[in-house]
C-alpha cells in the first residue's frame, strides 16, 4: 500500500556534482540541479509511490522544503535520505550547536511526502521566502 508520509533520517553532505557545480558558480544551473535534490532508497520511494525525478516535500522540526527525489544507485539505505549541502538542505537542518558552535547537519529526524504538484523553488525564490531579500 502506498503511504502518505514516511519517517526518515536526514543526512546532508557533499556529492561530486555539488563540488563541480559550486566551482562553476553558485548561480549556475549545474549548482542548482546538484543541490535541490534528494537521494532516496528505491524501496522507500516505492512505499511512498514516488517516481524517480519527481518532487517530494521534506519536513523537519526546523522547516520544510520541496526537492527532487532521485533514486540512489548504491542502495539499500532504507529510512535514510541524503540532500547535498546548499540552501535547500539548510532550510531544514538543525541549528542546535550543542554548545560547541557546530549545528547538526546529519542524522536529523525528518518526514517525506510526495509533492508532484509543488515546484522546486530556485535559489532567488527560496532566499526571498526564507529571508525576505
Amino acid at each position: 500500500m502506498v503511504q502518505q508520509k514516511l519517517r526518515v533520517i536526514l543526512l546532508t553532505g557533499r556529492t561530486i556534482e555539488q563540488g563541480v557545480g559550486k566551482e562553476r558558480g553558485k548561480a549556475s544551473q549545474e549548482y542548482f540541479e546538484s543541490v535541490s535534490m534528494c537521494y532516496m532508497d528505491p524501496e522507500d520511494m516505492k512505499k511512498l509511490g514516488v517516481r524517480n525525478n519527481t518532487n517530494i516535500l521534506v519536513t523537519t522540526k526546523y522547516g520544510s522544503v520541496v526537492v527532487k527525489a532521485v533514486k540512489y544507485r548504491r542502495a539499500p539505505h532504507t529510512g535514510m535520505i541524503y540532500i547535498p549541502y546548499g540552501p535547500w538542505a539548510n532550510a531544514i537542518c538543525s541549528h542546535e550547536t550543542d554548545s560547541i558552535g557546530m549545528p547538526t547537519f546529519k542524522g536529523i529526524p525528518a518526514q517525506v511526502a510526495p509533492a508532484q504538484n509543488k515546484p522546486v523553488l530556485n535559489m532567488e525564490e527560496l532566499l526571498k521566502i526564507e529571508f525576505g531579500k
Binding site: 561530486i16 563540488g19 553558485k26 548504491r74 541549528h95 557546530m102 532566499l127 531579500k133
Partner: protein, 484 residues
C-alpha cells in the same frame, strides 16, 4: 600557448600540486591531471557568474559602484559596528587571512572560519586528547591499511585515494588499482548474470553473493594495501573498498568504543554494536592490529552527527590504543583548500584556531559562545564581513535570518547566495589562479599557490581589498577618537 606545470589546485584540502594548465591568450584553456571539480574551477573561473564591479545596495537593489565607494561604505559599517562577525577565510590565501586577523582586532569583532561548521569539532577533540598524525607522504609510502570513516573522498576529495592512499604507488607499498579494476570487471560480470537470471524462466534463481558480505571478505587476507570504509550509506568510495561496514546513523561513538574495548582484549557481552555483529568487529580489530602502518581518515560523518566532538575524541583514543599494538595514525579530511591554513594563521596570531572574539580588546575563545553560528542565534552581532565563503547557503536558516538583517559585506569572486543578500559586494581575484599565495594541505604542509593568469581589470586580490578596508577603518576610528 604556454604550459604551466606543477600548479597547486585551489579547491579541496588535498591541494594536488601536479596540475598542468595550458594557457592561451591569458586564459586557461586546458587542465591536465586534475579531477572533475578541479577542472570545473580552472575552466569555470571566467564564467558568466563572475562579478567584475563592486556593488552596493541602494533602494533594496544591488547596483554597480566604484571601488573607493565600496571601501568607504564597508569601513563605515565595520567602524560603527559594536560586534561584527568576520567569517569565511577558508578559500583564500594565508596572506589575506593574516590581514583579516588585524582587521578583526581593529574592529573588535568575532573572527571565525568555516571550520566551525565543518571540522570545528575535530579541533575540539584534538585539543582534548592530542592527535597522533603524520603527513600524506608517509601514508602514500607506508600505509598498508587505510580506513575512511564517515567520509567519501570519491565525492569530496576525488584524488585523495589516487594520490595519497590505496591507489598511490608508494616506495614501500604499491598501488591497488589493478586489483580493483579486476574486481569491478568481476562485479559487472556478476550483475550481468543476475540480469540474465532475472529474465530466465526459472522460478527461484539461485541467489548471488553480494559484493561485500557482512563478514570480512577473503580480500582482506590478500597482500598489499587494504581499504576499509565505515559509513552510514554505501558511497562511491565504499564501492571500491575491500570491506565496507555500514554503521547505523548516529552510532559511530558506540562502534568506536566497542573497537577500543576489543583492542584492549576485553570481551563484549552483546551480540552486535551499531548494527554490526561482534564477530565482525573482532575480525576488524584483528585486521587493524595486524597491519604495519594503519591510518584513519575521518570526515563530517563523525563531526556532524550525534556526539560531534566526542566522536573525534574517541576516534583519536582508538588510534592511541591501536598504537600500543602497532603503528596507527589519524587525520581529518579537511574540506576547503586552505581551511587548515586559516586555523594555522589564526592560531599563530591569536592563539586560537577559530571562533576568536576580540570584543574585549584581546583574543578570547569559547566554542559555543564565540562561534559565529551561536553569536547569530543569540542575535548579538550587528554587522558582518564574509570572505571567500557562502554562509547563506551553508548556515542553518535561523542563523542566516539574523546575518542578513544587519549590514553585510561580501568579498568573493563569484556571485553566491550570500552576495545576493549583501549590502556591499567586492569582486576579488581567484586565489591560486589569478593571484599567488600560500595554502596549507590537510596534513599541515604549506604549499605555494601559483598565479597563472592576470585577474580582470580593476579586480583586486582579497589581501589588497582587506588592506584597503583596514586602512579606511583605521582612519574613521581615529577621527572618532579625536572627536570624542
Amino acid at each position: 600557448m604556454t604550459i604551466v606545470k606543477s600548479v597547486t589546485c585551489p579547491v579541496c584540502g588535498c591541494l594536488c600540486d601536479d596540475i598542468e594548465l595550458v594557457v592561451e591568450d591569458g586564459k586557461v584553456e586546458e587542465v591536465k591531471n586534475g579531477c572533475a571539480i578541479c577542472e570545473s574551477k580552472f575552466i569555470g573561473y571566467r564564467g558568466e557568474h563572475r562579478v567584475l564591479k563592486p556593488k552596493i545596495r541602494q533602494n533594496g537593489k544591488l547596483v554597480d559602484t566604484t571601488l573607493q565607494e565600496a571601501v568607504k561604505k564597508s569601513a563605515e559599517i565595520l567602524a560603527n559596528a559594536n560586534y561584527p562577525i568576520l567569517y569565511g577565510w577558508s578559500s583564500t590565501s594565508c596572506e589575506a587571512q593574516r590581514v583579516g586577523v588585524e582587521l578583526a582586532e581593529e574592529v573588535g569583532g568575532v573572527l571565525d572560519n568555516t571550520a566551525v561548521v565543518c571540522h570545528g569539532p575535530s579541533i575540539l577533540g584534538i585539543q582534548e586528547v592530542g592527535i597522533p598524525s603524520c603527513t600524506l607522504g608517509q601514508v602514500r609510502h607506508r600505509a598498508d591499511l587505510v580506513i575512511y570513516w564517515g567520509c567519501d573522498p570519491w565525492s569530496a576529495h576525488p584524488r585523495h585515494v589516487e594520490r595519497y592512499t590505496t591507489f598511490a604507488e608508494g616506495r614501500f607499498e604499491g598501488s591497488e588499482w589493478k586489483g580493483y579494476l579486476q574486481k569491478f570487471k568481476a562485479a559487472a560480470g556478476r550483475k550481468k548474470i543476475k540480469r540474465v537470471m532475472k529474465q530466465a524462466p526459472v522460478k527461484n534463481p539461485p541467489s548471488i553473493e553480494p559484493v561485500t558480505p557482512s563478514e570480512p571478505p577473503q580480500k582482506m587476507k590478500k597482500d598489499g594495501r587494504k581499504l576499509i570504509v565505515v559509513d552510514v550509506r554505501r558511497t562511491m568510495t565504499a564501492e571500491v573498498a575491500d570491506y565496507f561496514i555500514q554503521v547505523e546513523p548516529n552510532k559511530d561513538y558506540e562502534l568506536m568504543e566497542a573497537l577500543r574495548a576489543l583492542v584492549r582484549d576485553q570481551e563484549l557481552d552483546v551480540n552486535s554494536v551499531a548494527g554490526i555483529s561482534v564477530e565482525c568487529l573482532e575480525e576488524l580489530v584483528d585486521i587493524m592490529i595486524g597491519c604495519n602502518f594503519g591510518i584513519i581518515f575521518f570526515g563530517l560523518g563523525l563531526t556532524m552527527s550525534a556526539g560531534k566532538f566526542r566522536n573525534i575524541d574517541v576516534a583519536i583514543s582508538l588510534t592511541r590504543d591501536l598504537n600500543m599494538r602497532t603503528k596507527f595514525a589519524i587525520m581529518p579530511m579537511r574540506g576547503h583548500f586552505n581551511v587548515t591554513g586559516s586555523n594555522t594563521v589564526f592560531t599563530w596570531q591569536t592563539g586560537y584556531p577559530f571562533g576568536v572574539d576580540f570584543s574585549l580588546g584581546y583574543p578570547r575563545y569559547n566554542p559555543g559562545e564565540t562561534t559565529s553560528v551561536d553569536v547569530l542565534l543569540r542575535r548579538e552581532s550587528d554587522a558582518a564581513l564574509v570572505i571567500a565563503s557562502d554562509p547563506v547557503a551553508n548556515f542553518p536558516k535561523k542563523a542566516v535570518q539574523h546575518l542578513v538583517k544587519n549590514p553585510l559585506i561580501v568579498i568573493d569572486p563569484h556571485m553566491n547566495a550570500t552576495s545576493l543578500m549583501a549590502d556591499v559586494v567586492f569582486p576579488s581575484a581567484f586565489v591560486g589562479i589569478e593571484v599567488g599565495g600560500t595554502a596549507y594541505r590537510m596534513d599541515h604542509v604549506p604549499l605555494p599557490l601559483k598565479k597563472v593568469v592576470d585577474p580582470p581589470e580593476g579586480v583586486l586580490s582579497d589581501k589588497e581589498i582587506l588592506n584597503r578596508i583596514l586602512e579606511e577603518t583605521r582612519k574613521i576610528k581615529l577621527k572618532q577618537v579625536e572627536a570624542a
